[in-house]
């Protein structure tokens, strides 16, 4: 059934994409699609897994923190070729799935809620079973073993009544192990609920129910007996709390004592949750398989509970290849012919690009109807999604990996030399950069900015955001408190991201600055023109302090060697202009007692006096938007752009120039592009070359 429906959608999608092409371009709309390149099926990365289960099930505590780390390629952790899967992964996925399933099905209330059938109680022949009830004929006890999961107070609910006789009502004793009884008076003559609270330690206990005041007068034919009908243990009460996750998951209320009704409810829950986790409707076979697991889970549970039934199918959903991978089907796996993604596959690509998470109901509804394949609907959805808070993933995953923002967490400035670099300062500097970069992305940008600031300002901005600690670190005389405020940078040589303390620290060595690393960061991350690697045996530390002269002088000596000059003349001028900031990003005018010279010249002859002027030149560099486009392409599509993608990058940059020079414009153009919306299977010939050669932009102007 699934197969049939995707086929229908595919036919429909092919038609509408072609039509959209005619409408959009007015030419070149033949049925032949351009080669979209080969994208290997992508396993969810850790960040994607967490966001997916958060958005579908409400799990907030990042289950992936225990998963093995994801490997990266081309700077990103979401490339199918590099995301491998080992038995350890499955083990961790299995564990996470079980914990998540237990958490979302946990009833409102306490960890333990156990019904004990009266037949589970052990007793002497003076207690007799009568249907569902047991009758205590003489003053005796019945016991049952029960395991308390935690220390605490437990509620024991008893449904009981008395066959009353003699002067006193029936008295019932309830206790764990050999402790003294809690006495319950049972005056009722029909089944009535009673409750006892007992505190005890976690572990195995014997729950003892006793009949305390037997009365028998054969002469008057009077006989007092205790009758117990039902028994339930709940607790610890200290841990009782409502479970909003369960309310969110249970779209229906499972009817008590109605097996068919329960199965129907399970089916509703699984159909809805499965659709969100698989990012497409479930086939009837798939649903049947899940319901079989429900049946088994329910029958294996000693109480036959609905919740226990639901856990195995939920675990299966979370362990399924349809959840763990972003599956894109090739109907003809042997053919390398390009074909459009199905509407659901497109919804999935969109949501993982913009949200690092699965599509929501709205997106899936549009995919179910095939509407998402229409140009206007797609564009409207892209805009909706970019305005959604979930689009903050573009900052925390895309921008963080693009600009290496996590490096600051691993920087190890030498404590002896930089005692001021405290854990608190590290956090403040990281927060500054996170907050600043957010201005260039749509979701988290303030309303006034809307689609985000123009990208060049990432380098040239005359402001940043910081708390009092950042302001003091930068020597700014501004009133700031514990949270970030906008800090004007006028009157300083700080401008934009390049002069952020986080970056300057992360691209330094523990004991000194590294103009080479700082310059390399600009070339690799911002301009996508990595310097060629150094020739063997000459890489080295020419920068050890104390070896005479400033770092600039030592580097200049290094550049005298022709073999070194070719690269260092690219990196060093950029890095040296940042020498006005020390290894933890404080402004300085001297280095080892000698004045710092921040002037320089780019290869094309443009001169600058300091970091601020350099930032201005780099901000206007044509390589910046092109590089951003290349990084976004890799992140969104799951492969680096190759030679055939030059024109695609050109088109993205053109959309950027035509818009407000925002990342937003690049994202929108990319999500609408045919490379994003089509795919093809790998041909046999792709296996040796595997991918178009990585784009070499070194020759770019």
């Amino acid at each position: 059934m699934l197969k049939l429906s995707t086929r229908i959608l595919r036919r429909k999608s092919g038609w509408s994409t072609a039509l959209a092409g005619i409408l959009l371009l007015g030419c070149d709309a033949g049925p032949q699609l351009a080669d979209p390149g080969v994208v290997t099926m992508r396993r969810l990365s850790r960040g994607e897994y967490d966001r997916s289960v958060r958005d579908v099930l409400g799990i907030e505590d990042a289950p992936s923190k225990n998963f093995p780390p994801d490997d990266t390629g081309h700077g990103f952790d979401n490339l199918g070729d590099v995301l491998s899967l080992s038995p350890l992964h499955i083990q961790m996925y299995q564990r996470a799935a079980e914990e998540i399933a237990a958490e979302v099905t946990r009833p409102d209330g306490a960890p333990l809620s156990r019904e004990l059938a009266t037949s589970e109680l052990s007793h002497s022949e003076y207690v007799v079973q009568r249907g569902a009830e047991i009758v205590f004929l003489t003053g005796t006890s019945a016991v049952a073993a029960i395991t308390l999961p935690r220390d605490g107070t437990y509620r024991i609910r008893l449904q009981a009544y008395g066959e009353q006789a003699g002067p006193d009502p029936v008295q019932m004793g309830v206790a764990f192990d050999t402790r003294s009884d809690a006495v319950v008076t049972v005056p009722a003559t029909v089944p009535t609920n009673y409750e006892v609270r007992i505190a005890d330690l976690a572990g195995l206990h014997l729950l003892r129910i006793s009949f305390l005041n037997d009365f028998y007068d054969p002469g008057k034919r009077l006989d007092r007996n205790l009758v117990l009908r039902a028994l339930r243990v709940e607790g610890p009460l200290e841990l009782e709390r409502p479970n909003p996750l369960r309310r969110r998951l249970y779209v229906c209320t499972p009817p008590a004592d109605d097996a068919a009704g329960q199965r129907d409810c399970a089916s509703q829950i699984l159909r809805r949750t499965g659709r969100l986790l698989y990012r497409r409707p479930l086939s009837s076979e798939e649903l049947d398989g899940l319901l079989a697991l429900f049946d088994q889970g329910q029958s294996e549970d000693e109480n036959g509970s609905f919740d226990a039934g639901l856990r195995p199918p939920l675990e299966a959903l979370l362990l399924s290849p349809h959840f763990l991978f972003r599956v894109e089907i090739d109907d003809e796996p042997g053919s390398a012919k390009p074909h459009p993604l199905t509407a659901h596959e497109l919804a999935t690509r969109l949501s993982y690009f913009l949200w690092s998470s699965g599509p929501d109901d709205e997106l899936l509804d549009l995919a179910d109807r095939g509407d998402l394949l229409q140009e206007e609907t797609l564009t409207a959805q892209i805009r909706r999604m970019l305005a959604d808070p979930r689009a903050a993933a573009l900052i925390d995953r895309f921008a963080a990996q693009w600009l290496l923002l996590q490096q600051i967490d691993r920087a190890e400035p030498d404590a002896g030399q930089f005692p001021g670099f405290t854990p608190s300062l590290r956090r403040s500097l990281a927060a500054e950069t996170r907050r600043f970069v957010a201005d260039f992305f749509p979701a988290a940008a303030p309303r006034a900015i809307g689609q985000g600031l123009p990208l060049p300002e990432l380098l040239s901005a005359r402001f940043t955001y910081g708390n009092a600690e950042v302001a003091a670190h930068y020597g700014l005389k501004v009133a700031a408190g514990a949270s970030e405020v906008r800090l004007p940078l006028d009157g300083t040589t700080r401008r934009g991201l390049l002069t952020h303390g986080s970056l300057l620290t992360a691209e330094s060595y523990p004991t000194r600055t590294s103009p080479v690393r700082r310059g390399k960061w600009v070339l690799e991350q911002l301009l996508c023109t990595p310097p060629p690697p150094p020739p063997p045996n000459v890489i080295g530390d020419f920068g050890q302090p104390g070896s005479g002269g400033t770092l600039r002088q030592r580097l200049e000596a290094h550049r005298q060697k022709p073999v070194c000059a070719s690269c260092h003349s690219l990196m060093d001028p950029i890095g040296l202009s940042l020498e006005g900031f020390d290894a933890i990003g404080r402004a300085r005018t001297t280095d080892e007692g000698l004045p710092v010279d921040t002037t320089g010249q780019l290869l094309d002859g443009r001169r600058f006096a300091d970091a601020a002027e350099l930032a201005g030149l780099l901000a206007e560099d044509a390589r910046l938007p092109r590089c951003a486009a290349e990084k976004l392409f890799t992140y969104a599509i799951g492969r680096p752009p190759g030679e055939p993608d030059h024109g695609r990058l050109d088109a993205l940059v053109a959309a950027y120039e035509a818009g407000d020079k925002t990342v937003y414009a690049l994202i929108e153009a990319l999500a609408r592009s045919e490379a994003f919306r089509n795919r093809r299977a790998a041909a046999a010939s792709d296996d040796t070359t595997a991918h178009p050669a990585s784009l070499n932009l070194r020759g770019m102007p």
Binding site: M41, L148, D301, L404, Y509
Partner: protein, 448 residues
């Protein structure tokens, strides 16, 4: 779907399956072996089980002048870096002169090439995403030693993944963060947080469950795994070639977990969950303790361990050597920096000695754990400044039963490191005709 599948694919898939603990008999392989090897194999099998192998990776090379003994044979003196091993001297076998030529990169990238070739002796495909290498020696060893173990092999380390960013000169980070490879395209990630290692190794069923409840849990677990396996099998025919390779990884992994469902869990007392937020030195000791525990409880018999990732820039300020390790390793023959490197190396060996202490103190019934274990320590390069893959620092410890005769320093100038691995594989009764790109025959003289 392409109907032709190359023999290389078949082989690697098979290797993957077996490395992950699924036993497939390959009788033809043994028959291809020369007689000398078969006799080695049968000798090992006659020895008492169990044998264990532990591969230990140090990043950024070694300061070789303070590592290599001047004397050869049994009467060698421990050079400065190896001084912390004095109490274990008669359990050490130092090998010098071995080369790992497949580690040589295309152009730059010696750390990626060296780290990835440490256990594979295979040349890495230079690419940021098209990763191709070869099966690693520990995974071959796991085919023999891993069967029936809760963990056919364990991958541990002290540095996590790269989580974004670039690694070495156009090589994917997979090459510098993993040393165990189940197959040419399947690196096996490592665990680097001792608390998570503890949970994975020792967390059993929920306390207080009855045998019946545990059995019921196993039955539903099996049904869940069967369900997703069936899904994956159904999906297989609808995917292109590259995607099917990913699905194969999934199938292999699920089957491997399923095959261990009935393990009763470790009957291992005395394990204590490490604390959070340990300083590096405590972290390293804590991980060594866990390794000893995992081996002594026989949870696994094959471990690979990365002290750091390739290119590690860890600062050793806490032993008085601030500065980034990789940066320092380019010492440019500066004596001050070489002294710092020597201090780092000596510290590294101190912690290696701590692991040996633990293994030698722990009894496995007939003797100490160390007697029947072999530890094999090396690095991605020889000297960090020259990036050489010749004259690699190689240190063995333990006896592996009778396969290794320690207490010596032996020279094997120019011989491939891969040949050492062939000897170890023969020593555990799993001889191979070839290994990696250049392993053709076992080293001779290790056991006599």
């Amino acid at each position: 779907m392409s109907s032709t599948v190359s023999s290389r694919d078949l082989l690697s898939r098979r290797a993957v399956l077996r490395g992950a603990g699924v036993a497939i008999a390959l009788p033809w392989l043994e028959s291809l072996l020369p007689r000398s090897l078969r006799s080695l194999a049968s000798r090992a099998e006659a020895a008492e089980p169990p044998q264990r192998l532990l591969f230990y990776f140090l990043p950024n090379g070694i300061h070789m002048p303070a590592w290599t003994p001047t004397e050869v044979g049994a009467d060698y003196k421990l050079p400065p870096i190896l001084q912390p091993l004095q109490p274990h001297k008669d359990r050490l076998l130092l090998l010098s002169g071995l080369s790992n030529r497949p580690a040589r990169p295309d152009g730059a990238g010696d750390h990626a090439g060296g780290t990835s070739a440490f256990l594979t002796c295979s040349k890495a495909n230079k690419s940021d995403s098209d990763i191709r290498l070869g099966i690693s020696v520990d995974q071959l060893a796991a085919q023999k030693l891993g069967s029936g173990r809760r963990f056919p092999s364990l991958q541990l380390g002290l540095e996590g993944g790269s989580s974004g960013g670039v690694c070495d000169s156009g090589y994917s980070c997979a090459y510098t963060t993993n040393i165990s490879w189940a197959g040419p395209r399947t690196p096996l990630p490592k665990l680097s947080d001792p608390r998570i290692v503890f949970d994975v190794l020792f967390r059993g069923e929920d306390a207080g469950q009855t045998q019946e409840q545990i059995a019921a849990r196993r039955r539903t677990r099996k049904s869940v795994l069967d369900h997703v396996l069936a899904q994956a099998n159904h999906l297989n025919g609808r995917l292109g070639q590259g995607d099917r390779r990913k699905l194969d990884e999934y199938l292999t992994a699920v089957r491997s977990v399923e095959s261990r469902l009935n393990d009763s869990g470790p009957g291992c007392a005395g394990a204590k969950r490490p604390e959070d937020g340990l300083r590096f030195d405590d972290l390293a000791r804590s991980m060594a303790d866990l390794i000893v525990l995992a081996l002594s409880c026989d949870l696994s018999r094959v471990v690979s361990y990365m002290w750091g990732n390739g290119l590690s820039n860890r600062s050793y300020a806490f032993i008085g050597v601030p500065g980034a390790h990789h940066e320092l390793s380019h010492h440019q023959n500066n004596a001050d920096i070489q002294a710092k490197l020597q201090a780092i190396n000596t510290y590294e060996i101190q912690l290696f000695a701590y692991l040996l202490d633990g293994l030698s103190r722990t009894s496995d019934g007939s003797g100490s754990l160390l007697d029947r274990t072999l530890l094999c320590l090396s690095s991605d390069v020889s000297d960090g400044n020259s990036h050489s893959h010749d004259d690699m620092p190689v240190l063995l410890a333990g006896r592996l039963g009778t396969a290794i005769k320690p207490g010596r320093h032996l020279r094997y100038p120019g011989q491939p490191l891969a040949n050492l691995y062939l000897s170890l594989l023969a020593g555990i009764g799993h001889p191979q005709p070839r290994f990696g790109d250049d392993g053709t025959a076992p080293l001779t003289g290790l056991d006599t």
